[in-house]
Assembly symmetry: C2
Homo-oligomer: 431 residues x 2
């Protein structure tokens, strides 16, 4: 953990190093992924089955790629009622929050008599990648699938690898709660290729979303253009801005809930009280000792954690905007004022009783958020990601004549004679 105190020399440089520090791995898996995609395009299901046997140690027939209704019912029956109830509450709250995002179409006639419009339509078919193994998160299934369903996507397809045949029943139950239409037990670049290009068993989709390892991320990059993709997610991060009114143990717990994700995760506390900072640091050490995922959390906290002591908390907004964090907790009397001036954050959690974890599961807003300072230009997943827009334009003869001369002048200025002629013929000049 790095302690930065604004009162000490070198603060600006140390803070800049923290902002510029990159945490991504850049394993070069490009060639391997390109080969897998080419094989799936050429051979279809045969290639998908071969890679699934090789990477997941699972021998399937094409007819066995898809989970059956019976398998899904059995998975749900294997889940605890408490977990299913919790997923139900989460789904209800996520749906309610995202339904408010549905945009209105626009249609109007302007003062020159031109008919104008902008309308939103859902993407036809969406593929959702869900990681298998330890990173199989039912909450992520809800967060990715529900906004698609709210947008009106007709066909929602999920892929999830099942190494050695193992699958998390709660992941399948979450897919059922979210209304996923088809689920295939495949993963990796081969699953992304199957979704993008289609096989005999799996019809192609128009967009692929969801997190994955370096192979999945690279496969999404390579099929981008053929289909749409969501952001490529980097390691997760939280910034907590807390005044000394908060319980240091709570703040430490919030920092550690971020740090336990991944050794590359980053947890940062910003406060204006040095004593409080030291109490939080001590609480982190105390809690680390007993954590199940303590070795991951400790590695993250040691390498990427930071506590920043500022002279005046009012100025924390500048630091937060420079960090542009994925998650931002604001705790203390100045929280409201800071929330109003901060420009760059994926999601803001207000007050001591809103730990990020509430938002990870049952808050309602999406937990798929822009990482690694991309909140400067990117947003969390939303209904908008599953809609696309079409604009409409209509001129009658009178409004056409009002606009046509300017269009012809600009077309000729750009050296596009055929453009000019398309309007001039209608003006009668060259009909």
């Amino acid at each position: 953990m790095m302690l930065l105190d604004q009162k000490q020399a070198g603060f600006a440089d140390a803070f800049r190093a923290l902002v510029e520090g990159r945490r991504e791995e850049t394993a070069d898996v490009r060639a391997v992924v390109a080969e897998i995609i080419a094989a799936v395009r050429a051979e279809g299901d045969a290639a998908v089955l071969r890679f699934t046997e090789r990477f997941d140690r699972l021998k399937l027939a094409a007819g066995g790629l898809r989970f059956s209704a019976q398998e899904l019912a059995a998975a749900r029956a294997a889940c605890s009622p408490a977990a299913l109830d919790a997923l139900g509450l989460a789904a209800e709250r996520i749906r309610a929050f995202h339904e408010r995002q549905l945009p209105q179409d626009d249609a109007y006639v302007d003062a020159r008599g031109v008919t104008l419009g902008l309308r939103w339509r859902p993407i036809d078919a969406v593929g959702l990648y869900v990681p298998g193994g330890t990173a199989a998160y039912p909450s992520s299934v809800l967060m990715n699938a529900i906004p698609a369903r709210v947008a009106g996507v007709q066909r929602l397809v999920m892929v999830v690898p099942t190494p050695d045949g193992a699958v998390n029943p709660l992941v399948l139950a979450a897919a059922g709660i979210a209304g996923v239409d088809e689920i295939y037990r495949i993963g990796g670049a081969q699953a992304v290729a199957a979704l993008a290009y289609g096989t005999a068993a799996i019809a192609p989709v128009d967009k692929i979303v969801g997190p994955g390892n370096a192979y999945v991320a690279e496969a999404k990059r390579q099929v981008f253009g053929r289909v749409g993709i969501d952001m490529i997610a980097g390691p997760s991060e939280v910034v907590v801005v807390a005044e000394p009114v908060a319980d240091p143990a709570w703040i430490a717990a919030d920092l550690l809930s971020q740090a336990e994700h991944d050794e590359k995760a980053q947890a940062i506390l910003i406060t204006d009280d040095r004593i409080f900072a030291e109490r939080v640091a001590a609480a982190v050490e105390a809690q680390l000792a007993a954590l199940e995922r303590g070795s991951i959390a400790r590695a993250s906290w040691q390498a990427h954690g930071a506590i920043i002591v500022v002279n005046r908390l009012d100025e924390a907004d500048r630091l937060v905007d420079a960090l542009a964090p994925e998650h931002l907790e604001l705790i203390g009397p100045r929280a409201e004022a800071l929330a109003a001036t901060i420009r760059h954050a994926g999601a803001i959690f207000m007050g001591a009783f809103t730990p990020e974890v509430i938002g990870d599961y049952v808050g309602g807003p999406n937990h798929v958020l822009p990482t690694s300072r991309t909140a400067r230009f990117a947003s969390g997943l939303a209904v908008y990601d599953f809609l696309k827009r079409t604009t409409l334009l209509g001129c009658d003869p009178a409004s056409f004549r009002a606009l046509a001369p300017a269009a012809a002048v600009l077309a000729r200025a750009e050296g596009l004679e055929a453009h000019a002629l398309a309007v001039e013929r209608r003006l009668g000049g060259e009909g």
Copy 2:
């Protein structure tokens, strides 16, 4: 030009070939671009100046990278009043259409007492790439810059290469009309790198938009993640669905206005009348003979043009959705009904007096649109591309207690103990 008649055998296969036919070039410029970006990151302005001398045959000093106010005033003075007036009309109409897109923030307290919100904020700084040479289109400057300005972007930076020092004054005038803040006479991958990473002379931006050649497109791909980028545009296309009420010469002119862009451009007519189809084909041939850009238009029409004769125009919506065209003209009595059912098109132009060219310049909607069937999942440029969202969540002790148990159950189900502890400590279980 390919003539497909639904009455003839093999129609389905021929149509599928048309839909699947790819027109992109895939020049592999990856390594060259990676070198240029690395050099700009390492050496800053020195590398930018060196590449500008090499590729644009232009020797500059760092102080001369930016156009001065005097140069911009002189450029504007060199433009014809008619062209400036036309740009002014275009800018006014683009601004009016895009201002209606500004979304509303959301903020509410739900039935459980949880405070929720979603707010939109502009991206701080945006870079706009403008191609030099023959593809220097002042209309594109307006279409890219005005939505950014409407969104509230604080700093709007333009780069435009000036090979041998040559610049199109109308491009600079358009930048002035659109409110661009800084203009640099650089292009290629070096300009993209300078915008993404910054140099001593050019502060970095958060997102880069605008069209460019294969080097520029690849550079945008490589800096993606460090900054945001817009879609990578492919060759342009139009689909015209016309009933025989229309003047064949007008339809031919519209097809050719698309074909003159680029030998890889694509113009397609769909009609239900074989005689009309042949009249349009003849009109295309007649008009081609006299066009300034006739050789480009002819190459496009021969290689990629198509006329599709369908049995019933009511079914054209299926064909259009399969093509998912960038531009779609609907002409004839069935236009309204077709517009209502078509799902995938970047922009629709309604009626015989709305040639696409009106929309290219002065209609109001954006002319930066999804190409190559990406309208299935992508949208034209809009104010949304220059905004990003932050969600807000706030619980008081009562609403926290209502949600916390479900969050803890899900955290433990996902094996994330520190997540569970962050809520359980606040519930008093482990405080």
